[in-house]
């Protein structure tokens, strides 16, 4: 008998898969939901979960009568949006987004994130394609060791090298009349994040390149192609799906990287991670605003990921199924 699961078993697995998927999605959903709450709703216990998009008076028609409670009006205070419709409902508001945008310049952080994630990805690919080419097509006896050694750098906690890197970052380089430091500059962060993600990029590309038959590259060599022509005209076009998913993953990893971006930036090079972190301040916790900032920070990458998911899944399972 083939591996036909009984209906009950299938249902159980489906339920399990949904549970897991929802568990994984829960923090994101919670953050997005919270970003539309008032600060009071954000810390309400029990939590309010169902947003109501109000009519002209800001109230949902179905709850109009119930919400006309004079007592609640009296306690409404200055923060009018804080009035809760009651039950598991809350009234959605864009107030947090307005405040966040007013208080900090989102576009500047966004631009820094784009430059740092994009720059480190581009640089990483430029370094990793030739590296992966040589390991995949002209392996030596030590190739496996090199690959493993590269990966082993990812096993080290990042904080382990914080001090030396911080020293380099704060070293005063003589420049012109004065001095110059690498810390809080975008190029330095580009290089650091490139190095952080390089092992993964090389590994991924190596895996894709291994799938490309060596004879095709040999044919290119017989056809008179130089090494550069072989990589540009034959290898790269054939590896486009693999390279594309590597670029995506590298971009996402660099975008989300928080340890180095938080430790090595202050103002000038601060990306969206710093933007989020600035809302978790000693002055107090502003969950709703923090959530709004987080949502704004992850929105671009979520959109990118959504559009690229097919490519990404194909890329990540490349070679696993032929």
């Amino acid at each position: 008998m083939a591996r036909a699961a009984s209906p009950a078993r299938r249902a159980a697995f489906t339920a399990l898969a949904w549970t897991l998927a929802l568990l994984i999605f829960f923090p994101i959903a919670w953050t997005i939901l919270t970003s539309f709450k008032t600060e009071r709703d954000a810390i309400a216990n029990p939590p309010v979960l169902v947003p109501l998009v109000g009519g002209a008076d800001g109230r949902p028609p179905i709850l109009a009568g119930e919400a006309d409670d004079p007592a609640e009006d009296a306690t409404g205070g200055p923060e009018a949006g804080a009035r809760s419709p009651g039950g598991p409902f809350f009234r959605a508001t864009l107030e947090n987004y307005r405040v966040v945008q007013e208080r900090s310049d989102y576009m500047r952080f966004l631009w820094n994130s784009v430059v740092i994630a994009g720059g480190s990805t581009l640089l990483g690919i430029l370094v990793a394609v030739p590296a992966a080419w040589s390991m995949a097509f002209v392996p030596s006896r030590r190739t496996k060791d090199v690959l493993l050694w590269m990966l082993s750098t990812k096993m080290l906690p990042a904080v382990g090298v914080l001090y030396p890197i911080y020293l380099i970052a704060t070293f005063r380089l003589p420049l012109g009349g004065g001095t110059f430091q690498l810390i809080d500059t975008k190029p330095f962060l580009v290089v650091i994040l490139m190095l952080i993600n390089l092992p993964i990029i090389v590994w991924m590309l190596y895996t894709y390149f291994r799938e490309i038959p060596g004879e095709i590259l040999e044919a290119a060599r017989m056809d008179g192609a130089s090494l550069r022509a072989e990589i540009v005209h034959v290898l790269t076009p054939m590896a486009v799906p693999g390279i594309a998913s590597t670029v995506l993953l590298s971009f996402i990893l660099a975008w989300n990287e928080a340890f180095w971006t938080l430790n090595l930036t202050a103002v000038d090079a601060a990306p969206l991670t710093a933007f989020i972190a600035s809302y978790s301040s000693p002055e107090g916790l502003f969950f709703a605003k923090l959530s709004a900032a987080s949502t704004m920070a992850i929105a671009p990458i979520l959109v990118l990921g959504w559009f690229a998911q097919k490519q990404l899944v194909r890329g990540l399972t490349f070679g696993a199924v032929k």
Binding site: E215, A219, A220, M222, D223, A225, S226, A229, M238
Partner: protein
């Protein structure tokens, strides 16, 4: 021009010597076939000539120039691979144009040569397709087209037909033969199939374990194999070998007789038919119990009404016996 000479060429992978020092000259315009069982080093030898593998010693000369350390792109050779090795992301036209693009041939000349190659290889209707949309035979033709347009001094074929089905293989065999007649360019062709070797070659190089066992025209090898290995490898079905008293009677350690040189009828060898294969044009009989060898294979012309279990007597054609000494060499 395309005279290729190997002088003391050897190849070792680490400690393992796959090709001991070897000398061979392939004349200009010759169709030379390297044949041998798998793992005999014939493909490695071809790749050494191509430059895809580095030699561990010796020299490779092409038209008198030492090309031992020249990269493959600059040896002026073209290669057709077993897997076709087409560029899957390019159309047939671009595949064929690729070597010319690399060589910087101008566009008009490229178009002219593509046109000519496509006409010669029946590919004109497929120029805008991708390799993935072609059949095996068509792909192999594209690979050949890509080799032709380079106008190489020699073609190297690495088992080009072994991925094709039997009928197509016969057709392509003819086409490659015709191509050689048209271009009269040197061709080196690697195969493990002795029928391909026999039908196509001007000269066959039989290899075993990296060593040349014999070099000669197909009929040379058929008529006077230098040793037991070549005798057993060339010819289908395989030559029968008989040792012991019967061989001694002919003053040899081993005698060999090809299945087509054993007649059914009154003769000194008696046995029982085991398996009989009736092809219509021929009948192959596998005869047991002769006391000479485990099986004696006989090829009888036409339809012979013998079946398994029938007693049979056989007569070898005395003039067609091959005699070998105890060292396996021809006497």
């Amino acid at each position: 021009m395309g005279r290729i000479e190997l002088k003391g060429v050897r190849k070792a992978f680490g400690e393992v010597e796959v090709i001991p020092p070897l000398d061979l000259a392939i004349e200009d315009g010759e169709f030379c076939v390297f044949v041998g069982p798998s793992g005999c080093g014939k493909s490695t030898l071809l790749r050494l000539i191509a430059g895809l593998e580095d030699t561990s010693g010796g020299h490779i000369e092409i038209d008198g120039l030492d090309m031992t350390d020249t990269p493959p792109a600059r040896r002026g050779l073209a290669m057709v691979f077993q897997s076709y090795a087409l560029y899957p992301h390019m159309s047939v036209r671009k595949n064929i144009a690729f070597p010319m693009k690399m060589a910087g041939v101008d566009a008009a000349e490229q178009a002219r040569r593509i046109e000519a190659a496509a006409r010669a290889l029946n590919l004109s209707d497929y120029l805008d397709r991708r390799p993935g949309q072609l059949s095996g035979g068509q792909r192999q033709r594209v690979a050949i087209g890509r080799a032709i347009v380079r106008e190489p001094s020699a073609f190297l074929f690495d088992e080009p037909l072994s991925n094709l089905d039997a009928a197509l293989r016969v057709g392509m065999r003819m086409e490659i033969g015709e191509l050689h007649e048209q271009l009269s360019t040197t061709m080196i062709y690697v195969t493990h199939d002795q029928v391909e070797a026999m039908t196509m070659a001007d000269r066959i190089v039989v290899l075993r374990a990296g060593r040349i066992e014999q070099v000669g025209t197909p009929l040379d090898l058929y008529r006077s194999p230098r040793n037991l290995f070549v005798a057993g490898f060339i010819g289908s079905p395989r030559m029968n070998f008989v040792e012991g008293e019967e061989a001694g009677r002919h003053g040899a350690h081993t005698i060999g007789i090809r299945p087509e040189h054993v007649r059914v009828g009154e003769g000194p060898w008696r046995g029982t038919v085991g398996v009989s294969e009736h092809l219509g044009s021929d009948t192959f009989l596998h005869v047991h119990g002769t006391g000479l060898a485990e099986t004696i294979t006989v090829r009888a012309g036409g339809e012979v009404p013998l079946r398994g279990g029938d007693p049979v007597s056989l007569a070898p054609e005395e003039g067609k016996l091959h005699r070998f000494g105890p060292d396996g060499l021809r006497l």
